[in-house]
C-alpha cells in the first residue's frame, strides 16, 4: 500500500494529504472571506454614502452575512420552467472550481502554501478562464434575454482583458525567471516589483477589476441595463454561490497582485501572513472603493480601452523590459 501511495504521490505530485487538508482549509477560507467581504462591502458602501449600513444584527452588524447566508440556504430552489436544466445546474458548480484551485498555489506566508507548483501562475490563469465559461453557461442556460446579453458581454470582456492581464504578469515572470509564485515572492526581497513596474501593476489591476466584473466594468450584471445580468434567473443557494465566487475572485485578483507586485508575505516585524492579508485587503478595499465611486463604462468603450490602450501599452512595456533586462 505504501508502495502504491509512493507511486501515486509521484504521479500526482507531492503530498496528497497535504493537498486535501489544504483544500479544506481553502474552502473554509473562501467562505469566511466571502462573508467578510459582503459585510465589508456594505460597510464601505455605507460609510462612503455617509450612512451606517449593517448594524442591527450582531455587533457592528457582523452577524449579518451569516444571517443572510442562512436565509439563502433556507430559500426555495426555484428552477424556472424554460431553462436548460443541465446547464442551469452546472453553471454555479463550474463557477466554483477555479476559485478553489487558484487558492491552492497562492503563498499566504512563508511555507503557508497548499502546494507550490512550478507552473503556479499558469494554474491561476488557466482556471480563471473557467469562470467566464460558467457565466456563459449560466447566461445560456437561463433562457433569458437579459442573461444572454450579460453572458455575451462577459465573454467578449474576458477575451479582451485576459491579454493585458497575461502580458503584465509575464513581465514579472521574465524578471524573475520562474513561474512559481513562491520564487516570485522571494525575488522581491530587496525591492517590490511595483517600483520597477508601476505601469504593469496598473494594467494588471485594471484588467483584474474587469475580469472580476466589478464596477466600472460590471457590464455582465449591469443592474440598470440588464436587471441582474447572467444570474437574473438564479435564486437561493445557487445565487449565493455566484456571489461567493465573485467575492473570492476579488480576493484572488488582489492576492495575485500582492504576490506579484507588492512583495507578497514579505514585510518587517509582523508575521508573513499578516502582511499578506493587510496588502491583499487593502487592494480589495480599493476595488470596493472603485465600485462606490464610478459610473459604469459602456460596452464598446470597455473593449476599445482594452484593445487600443491596455494591450499596446503592455506590449511596449514588455518589449522595453525585456530589452533592459538583456542589456
Amino acid at each position: 500500500m505504501t508502495d502504491v501511495l509512493k507511486i501515486a504521490v509521484e504521479a500526482i505530485g507531492q503530498d496528497t494529504l497535504r493537498v486535501i487538508l489544504g483544500l479544506i482549509g481553502v474552502l473554509i477560507l473562501v467562505v469566511i472571506n466571502a462573508l467578510m467581504l459582503t459585510w465589508a462591502e456594505r460597510k464601505v458602501a455605507g460609510h462612503m454614502q455617509r450612512r451606517i449600513a449593517a448594524k442591527e444584527v450582531g455587533p457592528f452588524g457582523l452577524i449579518q452575512p451569516i444571517a443572510d447566508s442562512l436565509k439563502l440556504l433556507g430559500k426555495e430552489l426555484i428552477t424556472p420552467m424554460k431553462v436548460d436544466r443541465v446547464l442551469y445546474f452546472l453553471a454555479p458548480v463550474i463557477c466554483f472550481i477555479p476559485v478553489l484551485v487558484s487558492f491552492v498555489v497562492i503563498p499566504f506566508g512563508e511555507g503557508l502554501q497548499v502546494r507550490d507548483i512550478n507552473v503556479g501562475i499558469l494554474v491561476i490563469l488557466a482556471f480563471s478562464s473557467l469562470s467566464v465559461l460558467s457565466i456563459f453557461i449560466a447566461g445560456w442556460g437561463s433562457n433569458n434575454k437579459y442573461s444572454l446579453i450579460g453572458a455575451a458581454r462577459s465573454v467578449a470582456q474576458n477575451i479582451a482583458y485576459e491579454v493585458p492581464l497575461l502580458l503584465s504578469l509575464l513581465i514579472v515572470v521574465i524578471m524573475v525567471g520562474s513561474l512559481s509564485l513562491k520564487d516570485i515572492v522571494e525575488a522581491q526581497k530587496g525591492m517590490w516589483f511595483i517600483l520597477y513596474q508601476p505601469i504593469a501593476f496598473l494594467i494588471y489591476f485594471i484588467a483584474g477589476v474587469a475580469e472580476t466584473n466589478r464596477t466600472p466594468f460590471d457590464l455582465p450584471e449591469a443592474e440598470s441595463e440588464l436587471v441582474a445580468g447572467f444570474h437574473t434567473e438564479y435564486s437561493g443557494m445557487r445565487f449565493a454561490i455566484f456571489f461567493l465566487a465573485e467575492y473570492t475572485n476579488i480576493m484572488i485578483i488582489s492576492a495575485v497582485a500582492t504576490t506579484f507586485f507588492l512583495g507578497g508575505y514579505l514585510g518587517p516585524y509582523l508575521p508573513g501572513i499578516v502582511w499578506f492579508l493587510i496588502k491583499t485587503y487593502f487592494l480589495v478595499f480599493v476595488i470596493l472603493w472603485f465600485r462606490w465611486t464610478f459610473p459604469r463604462v459602456r460596452f464598446d468603450q470597455l473593449l476599445n480601452f482594452s484593445w487600443k490602450i491596455l494591450i499596446p501599452v503592455s506590449f511596449i512595456n514588455l518589449i522595453v523590459t525585456g530589452g533592459i533586462l538583456k542589456l
Binding site: 455605507g46 451606517i52 449600513a53 424556472p80
Partner: protein, 136 residues
C-alpha cells in the same frame, strides 16, 4: 426588490438613503430580479394593466416570501377610487397575499421601517426593537 410603481417609490428610495438607511437592518440590497428577493414592497397604484405583471413577479419569487403594501394606493386604491373607475385594482391584496400594510399618501420612511419591523415580528413572534413613542 425594487418595485416602485408610483409616488411611494420615491419615499421607498428615501428609506434606503443615508437619512434613514434601511441597510442597518440588513435589508439594504434592493435586487432587481424577483428570483433573488424575499420581500416585495408594492409601492404605488396597481392598475389593471399592471396586475398580471405583479402576480407573475410574486410567483417568480422563491418562498418564503413576504409582501408589504406601501401606501394607500397599494392597500385599497387610495384616493383614486371613485365610482365608475375602470383601471384600478382596489388593493393589491386582491391579487396577492399581503403581510403588512403601511398606509399613508405617501407614508413616511419611518412607516416603511415600522412595516419592516412588523414583518420581523410576524416571523419571529417578538419585537427586537424599541417602540418609539406614539404621537398623537
Amino acid at each position: 426588490m425594487t418595485f416602485g410603481l408610483a409616488c411611494c417609490a420615491i419615499e421607498m428610495m428615501a428609506t434606503a438613503m443615508a437619512r434613514f438607511d434601511i441597510d442597518r437592518f440588513g435589508a439594504g440590497i434592493f435586487r432587481a430580479t424577483p428570483r433573488q428577493s424575499d420581500l416585495m414592497i408594492v409601492a404605488g397604484t396597481v392598475t389593471k394593466k399592471m396586475a398580471p405583471t405583479v402576480v407573475t413577479l410574486y410567483e417568480q419569487m422563491p418562498s418564503p416570501k413576504w409582501v408589504i403594501a406601501l401606501g394607500n394606493c397599494a392597500i385599497s386604491g387610495g384616493p383614486f377610487v371613485f365610482e365608475g373607475q375602470y383601471n384600478l385594482v382596489e388593493g393589491v391584496d386582491l391579487l396577492i397575499p399581503v403581510d403588512v400594510y403601511v398606509p399613508g399618501c405617501p407614508p413616511r420612511p419611518e412607516g416603511l421601517l415600522e412595516g419592516l419591523m412588523k414583518i420581523e415580528e410576524k416571523i419571529t413572534g417578538k419585537r427586537r426593537f424599541p417602540v418609539p413613542d406614539k404621537r398623537w
